[in-house]
Symmetry: C2
Subunit: 103 residues, 2 copies
């Protein structure tokens, strides 16, 4: 793990490590289809502008992706990328049993 990878991972964890942003992520966990920003606002009791900024931060860290549809912006999780990074960290801390393959 080089310096720049470590920094990227730290940025990702920082993006996830804020209550309202983590709430957004959990909300998106349960969405099979992309959600628009205003709908996501409902899960945090903050101003829409704040949610907008949190979604921007999550987008910049690759946690979510955004697509425009009309005047809406639809957000969805980058499930594979994020879960893989979290598992890689978990594995570095404690190798999972599955990694041994057989026993």
């Amino acid at each position: 793990m080089d310096e720049s990878q470590l920094n990227d991972l730290a940025q990702l964890l920082k993006a996830l490590g804020e209550y309202n942003r983590l709430s957004l992520v959990y909300k998106l966990c349960n969405c099979s289809a992309p959600e628009n920003a205003m709908c996501l606002c409902d899960c945090c009791s903050v101003d829409a502008s704040v949610t907008s900024r949190h979604l921007k931060a999550l987008t910049q860290q690759g946690v979510v992706k955004m697509e425009k549809r009309g005047r809406e912006r639809l957000y969805s999780l980058n499930r594979t990328a994020v879960s893989e990074k979290l598992r890689a960290l978990a594995d570095a801390i404690k190798p999972s049993e599955h990694e041994f393959g057989y026993r």
Copy 2:
């Protein structure tokens, strides 16, 4: 996931989401035996007092545990607890194949 659990997880991720603290965690990943604080200082180019505070933050979030030996303080990772929490989040985002059990 209730509000307080979500908050705890956010705090954990925030503790991990800082470059120097994450460096400490990675350094401890490779230690089979507990490391003393001054040894850990070497992996961050900051004042010892700063490392001390980072280790305190990691301890408070349950990432590391500390034991005193003479005038040293030995730190080691709470490997199981931390990796389980990270995997739980990863699984919420994208269930791992292993969870399906068979196929």
